[in-house]
Symmetry: C2
Subunit: 343 residues, 2 copies
């Protein structure tokens, strides 16, 4: 962050700071009846159901300001929440953003954070309608709640996959995790020898996947255009293995995943090998890709097969058959769930 | 907190912990279509508008675990959010609860926190439908979003008070602030001489107002029963002066407040004098009472006059006349806004 000017957050006061940070957020959604400035916001979702999702990001746990520019962090904080709304087959319309900050942050630093939040709001056409701004004893904490709309009966859950359904994945997996490894390595180099400048040029794609992910709203639009309603869906935030495990246990089914079907970007393949990591393990256990994992009824297979950026990676099977990976080498391995271990 | 058993939060894992904490929260609201366990929750508000409010509470800033029992803290965290929904003339139906915790907290400690959250959900008949559980580097952070319903056109805002409207206050003010002073004093005594046991018996009412406040949903019900729609409303979280300032500046009006009309509990009067504080200053600048400040059209005065626990405390005047307090002694003082200074 470029801090030629440094305005202390105390200088604005609580009300002044809120006004300063949220003043540049116009409401664009017809459903946003009342935004920031009252005890609550008012939303008119008319005939639609309201979908709500919330996430908390903690400095030192979910992000490291040594390599996460605040603007990117603001953008990503919004994206991870919108990803959850899309994973319900819903369209996000509003967000609330609460932050707790220590006084080590200047107004200019917060401006960068909110600039990223604003960019995400604009890109995804969501309205910032509320939030809270308070101080923390240490570090930055961001808590975002996203609110969306879905036609009654069109919400897609995790617990509704059926035996015979095809398993689909959007985009590619593992790159965000590898991007994190690169950033962690560069941080270490910097801490050891601050004069060495990092060269991230070659890893642009991978690092970008970590620092500035996008949520797959384009896929939800594609589903609607093509009359597809997935039988189950979840966003891939904790790695493919963990998400598939959620769908299978909640649906009471098993899964047969083809290693060949797991989409991995060539840059991620290459980088994994440089780190002596298995690219498939990065996809299974890496996390933060914010792609969608969904299942479709076999009758929709022809509709899905020719859509861009969707990969068919296996089939839902009986629960007693477990959750298994069929490797390229012809072996079959059980897949175990691995959520992020925060604690 | 009684910690005869201490279970480390690591022992349950992230998914296990969430299941453990949220397993005892049944959904009771017909509008809660899908609760915890998916990417998002689904709400069907049918013909109603959705009202959303959010608050973040940070250990060491908003609460002190030396004198806030975790169960009370859980209860209060919910109440402060519901209070915002009521202040919109809406009925809260759902909440999401996100927490960040350091590993100094045991599962048993979190159980107490969630026991308080559960008690509030039960008392106010709101459903816990989502949230996030993560670790923090230091202390406990609680972020709650409350979601409510209001009939279209019945939401009451801060910016709609008119000249001639009567200013009304529910309950009594200043006690929560005095309760905090007592608790801070006892903490200091304890830190100086841990063998001295506090005697809070006599200050039961005041301390209770600080540790376990209630939100005035009963008033919103009373308004509906009596066909009253306030012309403006706000909840009193930062002290009467600050809230009146919000209503006046946002409505473009002034106010003439009668010192005589500010409701103060006899115990608070007494305690203020013991601390050599002015009780009215405690009411004006104290905060955390979670009562309602609202204005009514003069034609509704007869409807309001005989309702329990509502006090008429002044009149909305022209903006150029400012925001003034008419003291018992016959003097007139300007009232200045004083939000909490967190930073």
């Amino acid at each position: 962050m470029s801090e030629t000017t440094r305005t202390d957050i105390n200088s604005l006061g609580e009300f002044g700071l809120i006004k300063h940070l949220t003043g540049k957020f116009p409401l664009v959604q017809p459903s946003s009846k009342k935004g920031i400035g009252d005890d609550g916001a008012v939303i008119d979702n008319q005939g639609f159901h309201t979908v709500v999702s919330t996430d908390m990001l903690v400095e030192g746990i979910h992000f490291d300001l040594m390599y996460s520019p605040l603007k990117h962090l603001g953008y990503k904080s919004v994206v991870v929440n919108l990803s959850d709304i899309f994973a319900m087959n819903a369209i996000p319309r509003q967000i609330t953003v609460s932050i707790a900050i220590s006084n080590r942050f200047s107004v200019e630093a917060l401006d960068e954070l909110y600039e990223g939040i604003r960019a995400a709001c604009e890109h995804y056409q969501v309205d910032l309608i509320g939030g809270d701004t308070t101080s923390s004893l240490r570090g930055l904490i961001i808590s975002i709640t996203a609110i969306g709309q879905v036609e009654p009966g069109k919400a897609v859950y995790r617990n509704t996959a059926k035996v015979g359904d095809q398993i689909c994945i959007t985009g590619d997996l593992g790159a965000a995790y590898l991007g994190l490894q690169i950033l962690e390595r560069e941080k270490q180099i910097y801490l050891d020898s601050p004069e060495v400048q990092p060269d991230l040029e070659e890893q642009n794609y991978i690092v970008g996947r970590q620092l500035k992910p996008e949520a797959r709203g384009d896929m939800i639009a594609l589903f609607a255009q093509n009359g597809i309603v997935p039988t189950s869906m979840i966003d891939i935030s904790d790695g493919l293995a963990s998400e598939l495990y959620h769908i299978c246990t909640q649906s009471g089914v098993g899964a047969y995943l083809e290693e060949d079907g797991i989409p991995i970007h060539p840059d991620a393949q290459m980088q994994a090998l440089k780190f002596s990591l298995d690219p498939v393990t990065c996809a299974l256990s890496g996390g933060e890709d914010y792609e969608l994992l969904f299942t479709i009824d076999p009758k929709d297979l022809e509709k899905v097969r020719f859509l861009p950026d969707i990969y068919i990676a296996g089939e839902i099977v009986d629960a007693k058959d477990g959750i298994k990976l069929h490797t390229k080498g012809g072996n079959i391995h059980p897949i175990t769930a691995q959520g992020w271990k925060h604690f």
